[in-house]
Amino acid sequence: MTDAPEPVVITAADVQHLAGLARIALSPEEIDHLAGELTSIVDSVARVREVATPDVPATSHPVALVNVLRPDVPGAVLTQEQVLSGAPDASEGRFRVPAILGEEQ
């Protein structure tokens, strides 16, 4: 990937799709604006590809630890009141949400 990356264009349709994945409603103006901004940002950050040659391993954690585990011992839980303390809506000890579109996952 040492060749110059092709210029990236993020279209309004792309932003619409991404906003759907990220579940953020956006106005048509916001979408157009973001499309332009993201194109220039992605254009800038795409240069990571210049040095990301296949021989370089990826690093996901700054400090390499392994096997950080917890003993299977019960600890504190929140009370039902604490669980629901921030709920926008609740009923019968549970969170209430508006109708779910579509199917069970």
Binding site: V66, N67, L69, R96, G102
Partner: protein, 510 residues
């Protein structure tokens, strides 16, 4: 089987015709809830643990289980051990290093709106499981991988008429189940089962259930969702190399349903292909009540889960010592287990096959382990319990615990219950009235062993039938039968007939 006879608009092709034209290819994703004491990533108690009863909603929740800001996951060491054991039991290789990844999607039962799972580096991969069908033939099911992940919360749909998601006004969310440790076992495509595909499906899931039970890592109660199966089915015309388009049927939560759902999908897909149609790659939902599947969400580019390595967790690198330790502690395989039990119990091949086909081997073994004689255990599980289970369309193992069956058998052996009374006690136990002892006490069903009451009843019966008394006195002992019958009736069956006979002869002789 009532394959889609009612309430479904799906056209179905005759099963034999479907199999003559098409070859089914199967695949399974089985989710196993581990019975660790705490959750996968938090120290909240695990509702899938053995001793967990019914609890109030949202009372087994730690911050990370409901995705509170600032909360962090920490991996349960026991869940990792259980997962390795399961991987080994599935004949898998255990990864030298594996890690967690985030699967990103929005759904209200998912507190963080991502599921911590494993993606490109599962803890176990490349295994196989030997599965025995009802006719005794064995199949090797290839395992692609087994990976660790967390369960989601539970939704209750309110408003509307069906209690289903469609038409509901709103839904209620309980996060008690969120974060329960899961292992997802994914098979490679299973080819060549032909007409036996539905049976193989059932046998495969039963085998997984038996394995996790023998490992002691899950309660494995399908009716409680401890074990859940998604069945992938595709058909290809006979002779074609390429696999057909598959559907994924979810929510198949009993062994019987697994078999029915696969059979239904084969017939449904065959009808579509036969009519020149194409199969849509989609999720389908199994409906236990109608025995049909219905279309769910089509697979689309909206399914972009944006997996990436979970930055809050570190890689897991099981040591060779740990793997060796867990391997050494593995129980027998289900096949070995069967062979051993058959020999130990002295059952014939056909007697034993009945047990396996009724899916009560584990129950039977546990009943024997609790003290019952194998023949008695077999008699009850294949007799009265299986009869009730079949009548209700459920698995026998879901009705009653082996411990209670063993207690029931002991009561009969001790002469406290007659067979007839014991059947009544069994009914009570199944109805949730407690242990056999509890039911005996509550319903007052014990055999009357107090001779005073019996003697009084006998004297009364003899007095009511002077001719019979005379015949007995004349040496016609078989005449006593009439009196015994009357006494048993008077005692409402709560007497030992042999003892009654003894006493009748004794009283008549006076």
């Amino acid at each position: 089987m009532a394959d889609g006879t009612a309430l479904s608009s799906d056209a179905l092709l005759d099963y034999d015709e479907a199999l003559a034209k098409y070859e089914p290819v199967l695949g399974f994703e089985v989710h196993v809830e581990l019975s660790t004491r705490t959750k996968m990533f938090s120290a909240a108690p695990n509702p899938a643990a053995a001793d967990s009863g019914t609890v109030e909603p949202n009372t087994m929740v730690a911050p990370v289980d409901m995705g509170l800001p600032g909360s962090l996951p920490v991996v349960n060491a026991q869940a990792v051990r259980y997962s390795i054991s399961l991987g080994l039991a599935l004949g898998c290789s255990i990864a030298e290093t594996c890690r967690f990844a985030r699967k990103n999607y929005f759904y209200p039962d998912l507190g963080k709106n991502y599921q911590i799972s494993q993606y490109d580096e599962p803890i176990a991969f490349d295994g196989s499981v030997e599965v025995e069908l009802e006719d005794g033939t064995t199949w090797t099911v290839p395992i692609e991988r087994a990976h660790m992940e967390e369960d989601a919360g539970k939704l209750t749909h309110v408003g509307g008429t069906t209690g289903r998601i469609q038409g509901a006004d709103s839904s209620l969310v309980d996060y008690n189940r969120a974060g329960v440790p899961l292992v997802e076992i994914v098979t490679k495509p299973i080819v060549g089962a032909g007409a036996a595909a539905p049976q193989l499906a059932k046998a495969y899931v039963a085998t997984i259930r038996d394995i996790v039970r023998s490992l002691g890592i899950s309660e494995a109660r399908m009716e409680r969702g401890n074990l859940r199966c998604d069945a992938n089915v595709s058909l290809r015309p006979r002779g074609q190399e390429r696999f057909g388009t598959r559907t994924e049927t979810k929510n198949v939560n009993s062994l019987r349903s697994v078999e029915r759902a696969v059979r239904y999908e084969i017939q449904r897909q065959a009808a579509i292909l036969d009519a020149g149609g194409t199969i849509i790659q989609e999720t389908r939902h199994w409906h236990e009540d109608t025995g049909t599947t219905s279309a769910g969400r089509p697979k689309s580019d909206a399914d972009d889960y944006r997996y990436f390595p979970e930055p809050d967790l570190l890689p897991i690198q099981p040591s060779a010592e740990l793997i060796a330790e867990l391997r050494a502690a593995l129980p027998e395989t289900p096949t070995q287990f069967r062979r051993r039990l058959q020999a130990d119990y002295g059952f014939s091949e056909s007697e034993f096959r009945d047990i396996i086909n009724a899916n009560v081997l584990v129950e039977l073994e546990e009943t024997v382990a609790a003290g019952a004689a194998p023949a008695q255990a077999r008699k009850w599980w294949l007799g009265e319990i299986l009869r009730i289970a079949n009548a209700r369309g459920v698995e026998a193992g879901t009705l009653v615990s082996p411990l209670h069956v063993s207690e029931l058998i002991a009561l009969v052996e001790n002469g406290d219950l007659t067979d007839r009374l014991a059947r009544q006690v069994l009914e009570g136990v199944i109805a949730g009235e407690g242990s056999p002892e509890d039911v005996v006490r509550a319903r007052g069903l014990a055999v009357v062993s107090d001779d005073t009451a019996l003697t009084a009843a006998i004297d009364e019966a003899l007095a009511a039938q002077p001719d019979v008394l005379q015949r007995i006195r004349d040496g016609k002992v078989q005449a006593a039968g009439a009196v015994i019958g009357a006494v048993m009736k008077a005692m409402r069956g709560q007497a030992d007939a042999a003892r009654v006979r003894e006493l009748v002869l004794e009283r008549a002789a006076r």
